[in-house]
Symmetry: C6
Subunit: 77 residues, 6 copies
């Protein structure tokens, strides 16, 4: 596998949030490597409120890690 996660450091909180989204999705790629299977499941969660809330929970957990890694970006505030 090529490098997809060189660092947890980002320039801004928003880029940190985007990294959290990426970290959330990567488990799904690793667990279900078949891109077509993943594509078939997309409507299953993108049209389902509870699935979207669950995705938000995963992103929130990763964002906590990324924010801590960046010292909450407070040196810039």
């Amino acid at each position: 596998m090529t490098t997809w996660l060189p660092t947890l450091i980002t320039q801004t909180p928003q880029e940190g949030y985007e990294l959290a989204v990426k970290l959330s999705r990567m488990t799904i790629k690793i667990t279900q490597p078949d891109a077509e299977a993943r594509e078939r499941m997309r409507p299953e969660y993108a049209e389902d409120a509870d699935s979207l809330i669950s995705v938000s929970q995963v992103v929130a957990t990763h964002f906590a890690t990324v924010a801590a890694a960046n010292g909450y970006w407070t040196s810039k505030s």
Copy 2:
């Protein structure tokens, strides 16, 4: 995408809570960019107790991050 998260720092705990709500909702916007699809799902979770509890869980997770970023707002208490 325009800047929607310039900082995690807020003046008060209550503004920190409001930021946590915003952080929770943003994943849903990113995962389901179609505003009409999101609107169709609204009754699905706004009228369902378990969905609302799940939303609360996501907000609680983000609030932990925002609170830590702000040193729990203790220098002001």
Copy 3:
């Protein structure tokens, strides 16, 4: 919105727990502002073991934040 969260600091762990309960409920008020709709849902979760356990999970997450904000109330013990 009026001020409902002026501080995370409480005098005792028990008051901190009560604040965690309040923090858990506030997301539901924000997401479903209609008081009647919330009242209609009450039996849906107050009589359902799994819903009550989920509420406990949200409170546990907020209590972790409130406890950290208060230094675990250890200077008073």
Copy 4:
């Protein structure tokens, strides 16, 4: 309400775990104050593997807080 949580400090990790169990149950008492209603729900979760796993998750979250409050009881080890 009488005092049920005077401190998060316990003598041993095991007492800390028991406190985490108590913290988990207290939300249910606050959210569903009717003791008979709670008793009716007992078989619903005590005989259901998924409910028991969910209860374990709540206890795990509270145990993290209690353990941190006690400095992980390491000064005694």
Copy 5:
């Protein structure tokens, strides 16, 4: 109840993980003390992917606590 949790300190990360598994199971023993009832439920979760994932979540939460208690075992690495 006899002593089952004398310390959170373990010699290695792997023993810490085993302790996290034990901490996860103990709530179930406390909440459902009937060993036969627990045995009846075993196929319900051991053959169900979602139940096993939920168990993994509980273990992950306890492992975070045990790892922090042990300073992440970094002085030995």
Copy 6:
């Protein structure tokens, strides 16, 4: 059981993420030691969006621990 977790320290964030995936899977191996039973369950979660999201949540929780253990790999950035 042979040694499968000698350390939480990894060279890069990406290796830390891979370790988090391993930590997530290990509970399932311990709880359901029968390899054939695990194999039967694979389609149950690998083709189900909600199961994959739940797996992501477990990985996110372990990744937080591994990242903290490694000081967020910041000395190398």
